[in-house]
Symmetry: C2
Subunit: 481 residues, 2 copies
């Protein structure tokens, strides 16, 4: 098990702790962070929903008595203490005294890596690894080396960040505030002017963002969006058309608004009105649920942040499949978490998601016998001909479900399966399915090849000894025997 020394327990430090722990790293941390318990609770309620595979066993969280203890033996140290350079220098010195060669990523948004490296025993081990809140859901990490940072430290940082299911963005030149915060600062400054000048309220500005360009930016950035707006003429055309606007007096270029008491009070009061009594905890939960929904939508489309999530699953898929269960038992092949969007107006999992859970289970079974995506790409597949679903309970938000397969019958063309969707030992639904092996181009059933049957038939033979499940062979509306 890899060990991450996490130093600093604010919102960002706690967010990192959740990312590491839920991806199986052990986290010694020298302080009991105020935010940690609630951030972990939020993370456990949302991060697993981004994966189609069970997460690894959660890492061990330990509060270290000192920075030296946190750093000793660590494979990675993440520094997230408050933005005071002298404090960061002190933390880095203590880390390097205890573990000179460990890579140190700093969560700073205010200091350049060469500032962090000043006076360090091992400047080459230090770089900025700047994440975004909520750290447990947003993929972006800006990796900013200085010229003194060793290439191998940058490489290690990239691998670590990817291993946490995140997206490392290498910032090529040291610059204050890196990339994202520079863009954010310009918007923040202009927004403050709009409020100060009484042009717009905080709510107006938020609506102007999330009803318009915010939706675009969740999936394509500024340039790709404008490339499309430029039409077949492309970027050069777009710039020719809109570039001159930069010389119009559209935004408050030169001034920084005075953050006097009146402006702070105006913003605080407008923001209170906008929150309509929702607490920060409630807003966090709402935000996290929205982010999970958006990220899942992008994952379905394998685009942008969704591609990062799919790559993270792909890296772990083989390892999960390799832990093949006892073939003489029903095969537990799927682990799912009930997501917010799966809940219907009755307050429990909507019926189509029981079939979805079964599909995830039978898909895993098909991969197990060799009918994987490559097999499908080769022109053969199993299609479901018929399904019977018996509901035995109700699954609720956030519950963990498993899906298992028992083979009722298999021959060259047919695969008759019984799928149990369970919460712990308790069945919530059982599904009986008939699948047919097809030539997808010809659109007709054909015998499966030996490569498939050689894996399928021994499992079917082992399952022939299992008792016939209750509910198999039912017609809709049949009275229980």
């Amino acid at each position: 098990v890899a060990k991450a020394g996490l130093i600093g327990g604010g919102v960002i430090g706690a967010g990192w702790a959740a990312r590491f722990l839920l991806n199986g790293w052990d986290d010694p941390d020298p302080e009991a962070p105020r935010k940690l318990a609630e951030v972990l609770e939020n993370a456990r309620a949302s991060l697993p929903a981004l994966s189609d595979l069970p997460l690894p066993a959660e890492g061990r969280l330990r509060f270290a008595a000192s920075i030296a203890e946190a750093a000793a033996g660590a494979d990675w140290v993440q520094e997230s203490v408050p933005e005071r350079l002298e404090l960061k220098h002190r933390v880095i010195a203590e880390v390097q005294a205890a573990n000179p060669l460990v890579p140190i990523g700093s969560s700073t948004s205010g200091f350049r890596p060469s500032q962090l490296q000043e006076g360090a025993a091992e400047p080459s081990r230090i770089l900025v690894a700047h994440p975004f809140n909520p750290v447990y859901l947003l993929p972006l990490v800006e990796l900013v080396p200085s010229p003194a940072t060793a290439q191998q430290v940058l490489d290690a940082a990239r691998l670590t960040v990817e291993g946490l299911g995140m997206h490392p963005l290498h910032v090529r030149k040291e610059i204050d505030a890196f990339i994202a915060d520079r863009l954010l600062e310009t918007v923040w400054r202009e927004a403050l002017w709009l409020v100060k000048d009484g042009v717009a309220s905080t709510e107006d500005i938020d609506e102007a963002i999330r009803m318009g360009f915010g939706l675009r930016w969740a999936q394509m950035g500024l340039f790709e969006t404008y490339r499309i707006a430029g039409g077949e003429g492309g970027m050069a055309h777009f710039i020719a058309q809109f570039g001159p606007c930069l010389h119009w007096p559209w935004s408050r270029l030169t001034d920084v608004p005075e953050l006097d008491e009146t402006l702070v009070e105006t913003i605080a009061a407008q923001s209170d009105a906008q929150a309509a009594g929702r607490s920060i905890r409630e807003l966090e939960r709402i935000r996290d649920g929205n982010l999970v929904g958006i990220l899942r939508a992008l994952k379905d489309r394998d685009w942008g942040a969704g591609t990062v999530l799919n790559a993270h699953d792909d890296r772990r898929r083989q390892a999960v499949l390799d832990t093949v269960p006892d073939p003489a038992e029903a095969l537990v092949l799927a682990h799912l978490r009930v997501l917010p969007s799966w809940i219907d107006y009755n307050g429990h999992m909507t019926e189509s998601r029981y079939l979805f859970a079964a599909s995830e289970t039978t898909d895993a079974f098909l991969r197990l016998i060799g009918a994987d995506l490559a097999y499908v790409a080769g022109g053969h597949s199993y299609y479901t001909a018929e399904t019977h679903i018996l509901h035995r309970g109700e699954a609720r938000l956030g519950e963990a479900l498993t899906g298992s397969v028992q083979i009722l019958m298999a021959d060259e063309k047919r695969l008759h399966l019984f799928v149990r969707i369970e919460r712990g030992p308790e069945p919530v639904a059982t599904l009986e399915q008939m699948l047919l092996h097809v030539d997808t181009k010809a659109g007709r059933t054909v015998p499966a090849p030996p490569a498939i049957l050689d894996r399928l038939m021994p499992l079917a033979a082992a399952h022939a000894n299992l008792p016939r499940p209750e509910g198999a062979g039912r017609r809709v509306g049949e009275r229980p025997a």
Copy 2:
């Protein structure tokens, strides 16, 4: 049928045309717009996917011979001609000569409403109605009146925009570029500096946006996001902590980058590399599919732009339900479009979505007999006990499906339904379901009240005369009779 006079046929004008047409308005337009055919094709492939109800019959598109002809008899005129003030003045004069009192919304992003009103016969009828690309998917419309704009024109604009399923944002003070474009311009300017200074490529900047704050901004804006970041201390705490950064030299405050040939070429080349050979049409399709996915996720959560979509459906729901079909036939109650995320690795609709389609159909049926959301809130509901699905074909991306219900049997507690999912006259799946009437708190079946039975039983009696559907009563794997 309401009539919209649309003047101007670029990307924005064509986007408006798609919004109006697909929401049932007739559109006379004085020019045959270059972009119209392809924008309409994109809109037809995406906009219907945002609604859970069939859209109204598409409006009639007519190319008017003159501005006067487009404006005559129109209930709304939308002006989207190029950004030249003298041209806009000419268009407004011709519109008002033909139809003095029609409200005129201008799509301008460059002119304030009082500039548009200069010299107009009826300045009070003019305001800015500024949409965002793609107009057929993004909800935001900035409505900017001048002091001379009549209140009733602003009210009419609000209703028109809402009727198109969009979100009217009233900008209280006239200001150049309104709200969203001011924010966008600051980001654009800073991004140009980052490219010019070689700090980041166009792709780096796009990733910094869409892997991080772009995801946040699809669902909460700048201030609500920062409110959360401030923790229980709220906005005042956040500003105290981060406000001072504004005085650090983070962004290029004062300068406008020179858009010389070198910079334009750099951006164009980097943008080409980023597009990796994808055409603008391909990128548009990808963007639209992503936006539909994101908007559907927010719709499931009834948040932000998703709330706008739900409100649009709610306004139309009763009208759709009021067109009750012939009770002596199977009731066609659902109209669905196969969305990108419904397609599985076999290239057709994934099996759980057939059950989803059936749920949409039976939910509409339950609303029809009075078991609607208010009924569920009162503590009773119908739960599905059992389902049998027979696959008869494969649905593909973008296809229109209908769902119909035939009642096989109904009594006080039970509802035995047969649902057909069809593409035109062709069945793609049939589903047999047993639903039970339950007391949701007690968690057991109870008889339905007369309010429900009085609507249900006459339908059941009418359906008793329909032939028993093929496939009803099947067990999984049963050989056809």
